[in-house]
Amino acid sequence: MSQTILIADDEPNIVISLEYLLKREGFNVLVARDGQEALDTIVREQPHLVLLDVMMPKKTGLEVCQSVRANPLCAKVLILMLTAKGRDTDLSKGLALGANAYMIKPFSTKELVQKVKTLLETGA
């Protein structure tokens, strides 16, 4: 049974690549295009891991993150934040709000895949 990953990002240009990559790696991939959709999908599908973009319409990634962490049903969902905000305060905030890891754009896709695998193996 392959693991499910949700890509939550409003930019189709990155979704194309990430979706292709992760599918090649053998994951089951879901896509959400805004914060609300991401939150609904997480609650409904219980993905193993979410690639969560911070800047999204309707709900920001941070809000989604907070809501997920406040919901005991989604306790197992891993969150990997993706963001263009590179300041250390953003990083502290993302982690404080319950993200398991954090990657700043632009990133190497190899490293991203590596990080996803590590997270799924260690479970945190």
């Binding site: 240009n13 194309i16 690549s17 250390d88 305060t89 632009p106 990133f107 896709t109």
Partner: protein
């Protein structure tokens, strides 16, 4: 006619009696020693010559009298005169040599007196020279300062501790004009003026906060502390204000060097209007953001696409899509760079001023602020007292109070704790509380609401405040599992850099706006009523009207006023405004006031002018000639404008009538002539105000001679005069 000198008469009497007694006793003794026949012979010899004896006795008495008179003049009168003359010299400034009279000793005394007087005069003139020299120096210092201030490109305002303005430069006056709510009416003169309160422009809390800040640092021994804050004015302008303390000067007697103490006597404000800078800053932020964070996203998209393209087995369709992605992102980046180039944000300016502040001081201030403004207890939690923050403390405190207030209202929280620790090159400031309900949905948005401070809502959100600090804030659960907190990430202070003030010269008129004597004045707890006439601030005003019946439809068409501060008429701070009466101006009145209908067309109405005039006259005593009429004109408008003039009023006409009851005319011209005041521009509101003010200044010392020193006395006395039957 010489005065009878009783001393001589008594002296002569005593000598006469003594002589007589001696004669009788001697005669008696001789008489007793004589035999009977001898006695017969003596009676025969002397008897017929008794008259001669008596005459001789009288003659000798006259001689005695003459000698006595000489002696008295010589030994008694001369010293007495000397004493009187010396008394005159002592009590007055008369300079003269005393004429030596009488005995040798008395002459020597007179001589000594003369020498003493000479010595005194020499000392006096020397002192005068010194005083003149000192005041010349002071004047030079003053004019140097004035010149310096007028040439500063910064607005400078100097205030005493009560917030009264002591000095300001031209640039400040222009700045305040931009802040005025009625720039067309008073041109900012209702805001900036000697003796006016700076608090009509700035929130008192802001200024107090900055002052406390400075005082704290002075006590800790900082050499030259200054504070900064940014404030929005009523007109929506952003001002950056730098405050520096004016410290008390202690000059120990005779010491040449002057020590500066840590007691504040006032403060200097330097104002910068940063509205435009701030807009430019925001624009710059936007561009920077789009360049950094926007580019990051684009780069990420392109990079991911490129990395996927490296797979050799990629399908044609996917390949096309990825190439399209790369093309699109690269074009987007190019466009963004062009936009950067053309945008006008090349002039990098300083941002919000952050100041260094000891973290513990900030916590202390926050605890105080929360407890005074909310029904909430604030406590210290773990505070790292070694941390220095770089903050704009005022807005940050407001943010903390805002969040505490929301907690109190929404969640019934009545106690909060404050915690401060270092966190990877930053400070983390936590506002902790023990939640009753684990509802965090609402709190997410509190940081995005506009801060409410008391009854006002600021244009900033908590998030904005943190953004300004290059920091961030969020809500979290505490590790102890019980409490929750808002965390603020704040910058830590680096060593403070000196502010270089670049000044370049400008040719603006020299200011005459200073009055350092105001440093001596302080908020009086006494009411105005018991203040001395010499120390009050006056607004001397006059109105021109369409006629003499304000209650019957006559309207004000001109208001003029000048200010008297510390007994000086301020030529620079006047109020001069034509008013559109919204009615015709009777032709027969035009020769009197010279205001034609076309002059008032398009001028502001009384409804716009009175508020500005009211502000202009704030905290002063109103003075007018025949004030009853002008006051009536103002009071008729109370209902329509809602502006009430409840100032104390003095009337030069009543005061003059009281001082000179025998004069037949108390018209302004007549009084001006009596006091030798030049009349210019009679029957313009401003012209009359100036004449009235000069007359009033002449009246004050005359009132003092009559023992009328305070406002209360002046008003009571004026009431008593005949003219006072015209009740206001």
């Amino acid at each position: 006619m010489r005065k009878v000198d009783w001393r001589i008469i008594i002296g002569v009497g005593i000598v006469g009696v003594v002589c007589l007694v001696w004669l009788l006793v001697t005669g008696g003794l001789i008489w007793a020693a004589l035999e009977e026949p001898d006695r017969e012979a003596v009676i025969n010899a002397v008897g017929p010559r008794v008259v001669l004896l008596v005459v001789m006795w009288a003659v000798s008495l006259a001689a005695v009298g003459a000698v006595l008179r000489q002696l008295v003049a010589y030994f008694m009168t001369a010293p007495a005169r000397l004493a009187e003359e010396a008394q005159v010299l002592l009590g007055t400034d008369v300079k003269r040599r005393l004429v030596a009279q009488g005995s040798v000793e008395n002459r020597r005394l007179t001589d000594l007196f003369n020498q003493l007087v000479e010595q005194r005069e020499a000392l006096r003139s020397e002192m005068d020279v010194r005083v003149q020299e000192a005041s010349r120096n002071t004047e030079m210092e003053k004019s140097r300062l004035a010149a310096l201030m007028s040439e500063l490109t910064k607005s400078v305002v100097v205030c005493n501790l009560d917030g009264r303005i002591l000095l300001y430069n031209n640039r400040a006056r222009m700045q305040f004009r931009a802040l005025s709510k009625a720039p067309g009416v008073a041109g900012g003169a209702e805001l900036v003026g000697l003796g006016r309160s700076i608090y009509s422009v700035f929130d008192r809390k802001l200024v107090t906060h900055a002052l406390e800040n400075i005082q704290h640092r002075l006590q800790r021994g900082a050499a030259s502390p200054s504070a900064q804050f940014v404030t929005t004015t009523h007109a929506g302008q952003l001002l950056r204000v730098q405050m520096a303390p004016v410290r008390a000067v202690q000059s120990p007697d005779g010491a040449a060097d002057i020590a500066v103490s840590n007691d504040l006597t006032g403060f200097v404000l330097m104002l910068d209007n940063i509205t435009r800078e701030f807009e430019a800053d925001s624009e710059k932020d936007r561009v920077l953001y789009s360049l950094t964070e926007g580019s990051r996203a684009a780069l990420a998209n392109a990079q991911a696409a490129v990395e996927v393209l490296e797979y050799p087995d990629i399908e044609v369709e996917m390949r096309e899509r990825l190439l399209h992605v790369i093309r699109e992102e690269i074009q987007g980046l190019g466009k963004r760079i062009d936009e950067m180039q053309t945008s006008s944000t090349n002039n990098l300016r300083s941002r919000w001023p952050l100041e260094d502040m000891l973290g513990a001081d900030f916590i202390e201030a926050a605890v105080r602020r929360i407890e005074t403004s909310l029904p909430v207890r604030a406590e210290w939690d773990a505070v790292d007292t070694s941390l220095w923050l770089k903050v704009e403390s005022f807005s940050l405190l407001q943010a903390l109070v805002h969040l505490s207030s929301r907690l109190n209202i929404e969640c019934g929280v009545d106690t909060v704790q404050l915690r401060l620790a270092e966190n990877a090159q930053r400070a983390q400031l936590d506002l902790l509380w023990t939640p009753q309900t684990p509802d965090i949905k609402a709190m997410m948005n509190w940081e995005l609401e506009q801060i409410r401070s008391g009854s006002e809502t600021l244009s900033l959100t908590v998030q904005d405040v943190l953004t300004r600090h290059g920091g961030d804030s969020w809500y979290e659960r505490d590790a102890d599992g019980v409490r929750a907190f808002f965390r603020f990430l704040l910058p830590l202070a680096a060593p403070q850099e000196e502010l270089a003030s670049a000044t370049f010269l400008r040719n603006e008129s020299r200011p005459e706006y200073y009055d350092f004597d105001l440093f001596q004045s302080s908020e009086q707890s006494r009411s105005l009523e018991d203040r001395l006439l010499t120390e009050l601030t006056y607004t001397v005003f006059d109105t021109e009207t369409t006629g003499l019946n304000p209650a019957g439809g006559d309207e004000i068409i001109q208001v003029g006023a000048v200010r008297i501060v510390n007994g000086k008429l301020l030529q620079q701070e006047f109020f001069d405004q034509l008013v559109d009466p919204k009615r015709t101006i009777p032709a027969e009145t035009i020769p009197i006031h010279g205001i034609k209908p076309e002059m008032v067309k398009g001028q502001p109405t009384i409804g716009q002018v009175l508020p500005a005039f009211h502000t202009f006259a704030q905290d002063t005593v109103l003075v007018a000639h025949n004030a009853a009429f002008d006051m009536r004109c103002l009071q008729v408008k109370e209902k329509a404008t809602g502006i009430v003039f409840d100032h104390p009023v003095l009337d030069t006409l009543l005061l003059s009538a009281m001082l000179h009851p025998n004069q037949e005319s108390h018209r302004l011209e007549a009084i001006a002539e009596r006091f030798n005041v030049t009349v210019i521009g009679r029957h313009t509101a401003l012209g009359d105000s100036i004449v009235t003010a000069e007359v009033f200044l002449k009246l004050i010392p005359l009132l003092a001679e009559k023992g009328i020193l305070t406002l209360r006395q002046a008003r009571e006395e004026a009431q008593k005069t005949f003219y006072a039957r015209l009740k206001y």
